[in-house]
């Protein structure tokens, strides 16, 4: 065999600790992409064998059996069988088993070993098993399974070298002596075997560890559980807004300093304006939201890593069932509060296709972090900062109302969709509740870094491009003396055209103008408003240009207009990336087109209703 690179794949049940093992084996050198044609994430990294030879290690989605019931499990099956496009068949399969759940995990393990591929078993999380009162005999398991069994503790890096040695040995053995496929046995037989093997491998066993049961008794309590979940979610959102403030202020100051610095070193010119008004102001106004995104993802990743996320799904199932969904939809929808893109991608774990489609269609209504800049700027400018109750500020209340409006809108739409376009039998809810675990700092840090990197890459590429293009459209053609630059520009002409449609719901030219580039990303609305008012400020009047965006908005907008703008952003599907992901996930343009249509209609109606109601109420 003269293959360039050996491929090994991590295979196992969900919650076997595969990802932690993958992180421990490959470190931060990971490549994350999608398998061609499907949207299942492909995680690959480099593992070094004792000889120094690199091996490509692929982390396959968790599976309970080879007869797939979800797109994720389908990929696992195809990769193992060597049928997955864009992925060479793994030379070695590394079966990851949870030591404290052997009987269950040995069922799938037997099915994989039966295939006769070179296989190594990682008996993972042996420390948790010991904590759970289990003493295991890896040698007994090895002779029962007929493949090497290596005890590992991924989070403490125990057994990793031995595992690498076993992978190398399994790969080399296949060249001289390929293993023969074993006789196929039925599921009940396999389960019986698993029971026997687990019994033989368990040397001693005390009563089931009480910790998980005790935690569940509180966290899944029919009366105490839901309030605990809501209190936790409240803390999360509180943290997103308050903890992030000092970091965001720091970033904002840095962006301001950078702008001043460029102004100081570059001679006045259109190019300098492009750099300061376009690039630095535009990209900077988006980058300041990095702290909030990191904090939100910190909580989401922690809830996932500790095992609480599955409990949250359990607690929310009844509520979601009311609108025809299941607890499984809760996790993607919660992620959508950070960003609809990971949210829509997380719907892959929903097994029912109609459930999944419904969740994809309503995910954009969850208030994502990109709306925050828009909400924050408008609220700060128009909603007075006063208390309406003990500890309840009016600004916070309006923000909360915007979140609630999105949630209620999503629930109503889900209810309607489940009775019309995604009609079908009510979906079930079957989900393993994993053991509680302390998350490891390294895994958390790695996850956060990956999320932050994706956000910054977006700010550095797409948002950068859009901001620069918008600046160019705003500045050309140049205005005649005495003419407003925005009115003269291409962008102004486009906005005037759009105003014909958006005028009736209270949008002026600048608002219509902000809506166009916001299609690329909602937060661009803020930078485009900033750019527009910076461009329209008289050239020599540095003071006017320095006037805060909030003052500019107050000078040009009325309160009903501002409220209509907020209502628009609750519903409007202003994010090309989300639409692109929805297209990929639904394999066509039909559903993204439907999503665009119904969300724009909702946005238009909501903004219009808000504008007319606020005007009729005499708000100024």
């Amino acid at each position: 065999m003269t293959r360039a690179l050996t491929v090994a794949a991590l295979v196992g049940n969900p919650n076997a600790g595969k990802s932690a093992l993958f992180n421990a084996l490959t470190g931060a050198r990971q490549k994350i992409a999608n398998y061609p044609g499907v949207t299942v994430e492909r995680k690959a990294g480099r593992l070094l064998l004792p000889s120094g030879e690199p091996v490509e290690l692929v982390d396959l989605p968790g599976s309970y059996a080879l007869d797939a019931t979800s797109p994720d499990e389908e990929v696992t099956r195809k990769v193992i069988m060597g049928e997955q496009e864009g992925q060479a068949q793994p030379d070695v399969i590394v079966l990851v088993l949870d030591s404290s759940n052997l009987e269950q995990h040995l069922v799938f393990a037997q099915e994989v070993i039966e295939l006769g591929r070179p296989t190594v078993v990682a008996l993972n999380m042996v420390d948790l098993a010991e904590r759970d009162g289990l003493t295991l005999d890896p040698a007994a398991l090895q002779s029962a399974l007929g493949v090497p069994v290596i005890p590992t503790v991924a989070v403490r890096r125990r057994g990793l070298d031995a595992l690498a040695v076993a992978i190398a040995a399994a790969r080399d053995r296949v060249n001289s002596d390929p293993p023969a496929p074993r006789p196929h046995i039925t599921l009940p037989e396999r389960r019986m075997q698993a029971h026997e093997m687990a019994r033989a491998a368990i040397l001693s066993e005390t009563a089931r560890h009480r910790l998980h049961a005790r935690l569940d008794r509180v966290l899944l309590h029919p009366w105490a559980g839901p309030p605990i979940l809501f209190a936790l979610l409240f803390v999360v959102f509180q943290a997103v807004f308050s903890w992030a403030t000092p970091f965001a202020d720091g970033l904002e100051a840095a962006v301001g300093l950078l702008g001043d610095l460029v102004k100081a070193v570059m001679p006045p010119s259109l190019l300098r304006d492009l750099v300061t008004e376009g690039v630095i102001a535009g990209v900077g106004s988006v980058v300041v939201f990095l702290p909030q995104i990191v904090i939100l993802f910190f909580f989401i990743l922690t809830m996932e890593a500790t095992g609480y996320m599955a409990r949250a799904a359990f607690l929310m199932d009844r509520l979601m069932a009311g609108v025809g969904l299941s607890g499984r939809s809760f996790i993607p929808l919660l992620s959508s509060f950070a960003c609809a893109i990971p949210g829509i991608m997380a719907t892959r774990s929903i097994t029912d296709p109609r459930d999944r489609l419904t969740t994809i269609l309503i995910a954009p209504m969850m208030t994502c972090s990109a709306r925050l800049p828009v909400y924050a700027v408008i609220i700060a400018a128009f909603i007075p900062d006063r208390m309406v109750g003990p500890g309840i500020g009016l600004q916070g209340l309006v923000l909360f109302a915007l979140y609630v409006a999105g949630i209620i809108g999503a629930m109503v739409v889900a209810l309607v969709l489940r009775r019309s376009v995604t009609k079908g039998a009510a979906s079930g809810f079957i989900m393993e509740l994993p053991k509680y675990q302390l998350p490891t700092v390294k895994d958390l840090a790695l996850g956060l870094w990956q999320r932050a990197f994706v956000f910054l890459r977006r700010a550095g590429t797409m948002i950068f491009t859009v901001t620069v293009v918008l600046w160019l459209l705003l500045n050309f053609p140049r205005a005649e003396p005495g003419q407003d630059q925005v009115d003269a520009s291409i962008a102004g002409t486009m906005a005037n055209g759009l105003s014909v449609v958006l005028g009736p719901i209270g949008f002026n030219r600048d608002m219509s103008l902000a809506v166009i580039p916001a299609m690329a990303a909602r937060e661009v609305a803020v930078s485009s408003l900033a750019t527009t008012y910076a461009v329209s400020a008289p050239d020599e009047d540095e003071d006017a240009a320095a006037v805060a965006l909030g003052d500019q908005l107050r000078a040009h907008w009325t309160l009903p207009m501002a409220l209509a703008f907020l209502a628009w952003f609750v519903f409007a599907p202003q994010c090309l990336a989300t639409i692109a992901v929805a297209r990929r996930e639904t394999n066509g343009w039909k559903w993204p087109a439907f999503m665009l249509g119904y969300l724009f209609t909702l946005a238009y109606l909501a903004a219009g209703a808000t504008f007319w109601a606020a005007s009729a109420a005499g708000l100024q």
């Binding site: 059996a65 599921l187 559980g225 029912d352």
Partner: protein, 95 residues
């Protein structure tokens, strides 16, 4: 000996008292969606399995249920549990 199928007198899993160990005696797969049936089987919820009901419902709802099977806890809906006939395991008569 309990009737294996179609027993109207047997206790179904959703009615089992919390914390009572029981064995699944029969499952009426025909009332379940095929894919969900397969998923339940993959998780080991099948005839012969030892189960304990750990949690039931949120607020006044009786849905969903948390079932302990081996050292694993699985959330299922009441409709799934209602398709499963169980017989309580008494400590004096082990397997």
């Amino acid at each position: 000996m309990l009737a294996r199928y179609g027993s109207a007198t047997g206790v179904t899993l959703d009615l089992l008292p919390i914390g009572t160990p029981a064995r699944i005696a029969a499952v009426d797969w025909s009332v379940l969606v095929a894919e969900e049936a397969r998923r339940l089987r993959a998780l080991g919820l099948d005839v012969g399995a030892r189960v304990t009901l750990a949690h039931r419902g949120v607020f006044l709802g009786r849905d969903p249920l948390a079932v302990e099977i081996g050292r694993m806890t699985v959330a299922i809906r009441r409709v799934h549990a209602r398709a499963m006939q169980v017989e309580p395991i008494t400590e004096t008569a082990p397997a």
